[in-house]
């Protein structure tokens, strides 16, 4: 009886194995067999070429095919926008990518980001400072840092509004403003966008220079990410230095995708007078708009956490000061460093400011 059962078991196992193997062979066969065409072409290229020639293919067809693929010629006409290419194909890719994925996925990326934030806010609400406040205040961001931040932030919002107008205005704003009204706004938006872009880039570079040293990844950042910064559960906290892992990711996103992907590509087609080719400008425009939309979507998260999401975070960037309790809850390691006086002037200034604000509690 027991042998019988084991016999059926092994048979069932064998069946399963055969089934799996035959399935694998079938899948591999359907995937690999059609590829033998490539093998054939690579083995007999000379013969194939000879064969087609003997069959009397019209050489004119090849001539015009080369033209169709962007062959260059000579033209005696001259001007900044005069090209010697009869037909350029990149434009069709530009059109399909701009009017396709960027226009259809882009708005969804932003909408989903906003919805996710709204939902998170409705469920979790504002993260409050848990300990009662002693009234001791510490410096969070210096005056210079706040200046750079708001300079960049205001320009970012200007660029965001004008950029989105140029990208989606035809679909969204023309029905509202009318075609002439929108054209007037778009003309203004283009000029504003083109002029604030390079100024914004200066702000981004200053920010990177000012904050790069606080944004090197440390081992405790991994823990922060695993706990999602303690945002999900009250009482759960993760270690963080002056900036936490989330802020570091945002920082490096801006330093790479933002600076190189959006700012540099923006310059490429903001200043068309350096002889860059149409292809370069097409790609620059596509990368600029797709990463720009992504940047905007991520910025919603940054803005949320700096305002509604975390109590007192807003004061850190406006007044420059936060309570010691806030600092302990969100940036404990930085607080330790300030207390140790390891940061020199910053900590001195923090202590001085703190004593100025509430002498009674500071001396205790």
């Amino acid at each position: 009886m027991s042998r019988d059962r084991s016999g059926t078991a092994t048979r069932a196992k064998r069946h399963k194995r055969i089934m799996l193997w035959s399935l694998l062979v079938m899948v591999l066969g359907t995937m690999l067999l059609p590829l033998t065409g490539y093998l054939y072409v690579s083995i007999v290229p000379a013969q194939a070429a000879q064969g087609s020639h003997n069959q009397g293919v019209n050489p004119h067809a090849n001539y015009w095919r080369a033209v169709r693929e962007g062959d260059k010629g000579y033209t005696s006409a001259s001007g900044p926008y005069t090209t010697d290419t009869l037909i350029q194909n990149g434009g069709e890719n530009y059109r399909n990518f701009r009017n396709g994925p960027i226009s259809s996925i882009g708005p969804w990326v932003m909408a989903v980001a906003l919805l996710a934030i709204a939902l998170f806010y409705l469920i979790k609400g504002t993260t409050r400072v848990e300990e009662p406040r002693s009234g001791r205040m510490l410096e969070r961001w210096s005056g210079g840092e706040r200046l750079i931040h708001w300079y960049t932030a205001i320009l970012f919002i200007i660029l965001e509004i004008t950029g989105l107008s140029l990208l989606f205005g035809r679909a969204v704003l023309i029905p509202l403003l009318g075609i002439q009204g929108f054209a007037a706004w778009a003309e203004f938006a283009k000029v504003i966008h083109n002029w604030s872009g390079p100024l914004f880039m200066v702000g981004i570079i200053l920010e990177i220079v000012a904050w790069a040293r606080y944004n090197t990844f440390k081992s405790y950042d991994w823990d922060w990410l695993k706990k999602f910064g303690g945002m999900l559960k009250r009482g759960v906290h993760a270690h963080a230095g002056r900036t936490n892992a989330g802020e570091k990711i945002w920082f490096w996103f801006i330093a790479t995708f933002g600076l190189i992907g959006v700012c540099i590509t923006g310059l490429i087609f903001d200043f068309p007078n350096f002889g860059q080719s149409r292809e370069t400008m097409q790609w620059a425009a596509l990368i600029h708009s797709s990463l720009g939309v992504l940047w905007i979507a991520i910025s919603f998260g940054h803005i949320y956490l700096g305002t509604l999401g975390v109590e007192e975070a807003w004061q850190g960037m406006t007044k420059g000061e936060v309570s010691e309790e806030w600092m302990r809850q969100h940036h404990d390691l930085w607080l330790e460093e300030i207390k140790k006086g390891g940061t020199g002037q910053t900590a001195d200034k923090a202590a001085r400011d703190a004593s100025k604000r509430s002498p009674g509690t500071a001396s205790s």
């Binding site: 090209t83 069709e92 003309e187 149409r278």
Partner: protein, 197 residues
């Protein structure tokens, strides 16, 4: 209704640039802006061919598709025109156009583009036909006068044809059937091997 088309017969075009000159003269196009240009392929080599190219008035025009302010429109004759009062000079139509038709006058520093200018099939623009303002912004409106574009009218070898697509096609078909696809001269294939041309 007619569907207006350009066609340039590469076997006839001799790169005289008469069409370019006619265009500039008829439309008072500013310096540096070329509504039409002649491109010579394989210049100075066997198989040299010249073609005059301008806006081809596409049925599904890429320029119109990417324009952020939607300033393009197609006339009932199938001519693609644009409204310079709406154009913001962003340059997107230049990126999208396969033929390099859109041109921009550069008036300001840093290569800031002015309002786009392109071939209108000598059909002016949205302003009143043959008014002074229309001429200043868009050039002549020969279509409203019952004439064809100046470039094709002036073409000495009748390489450049313009007009109703069906009639242009008929003329070209007659030419092709008469002359055949390739020169039939004895020894031509030896002198100019097909692989090189």
């Amino acid at each position: 209704m007619a569907r207006m088309k350009f066609l340039c017969d590469a076997e006839r075009c001799i790169e005289c640039n008469g069409c370019v000159t006619a265009c500039k003269n008829a439309n008072e196009v500013p310096w540096g802006v070329n509504r039409r240009r002649v491109i010579t392929l394989k210049d100075g080599e066997p198989g040299e061919k010249s073609i005059s190219v301008a806006c081809m008035h596409c049925t599904d025009a890429p320029c119109a598709a990417v324009c952020p302010v939607d300033c393009f429109y197609t006339t009932p004759d199938g001519i693609v025109l644009h409204d310079k009062d709406l154009c913001i000079g962003c340059g997107y139509c230049f990126y999208a156009c396969p033929f390099g038709a859109p041109q921009y006058p550069q008036k300001e520093a840093f290569g800031v583009r002015g309002k786009m200018d392109k071939c209108t099939f000598c059909a002016g623009g949205p302003l009143p036909d043959n008014s002074a303002e229309e001429y200043k912004k868009y050039g002549s409106n020969r279509i409203a006068e019952g004439k064809l574009p100046a470039c094709a009218e002036m073409c000495a070898t009748k390489a450049l044809l313009a007009g109703d697509g069906d009639m242009v096609a008929d003329i070209y078909r007659k030419r092709i059937t008469k002359r055949g696809g390739r020169p039939k001269t004895w020894g031509w294939e030896t002198a100019y091997p097909p692989s090189r041309s």
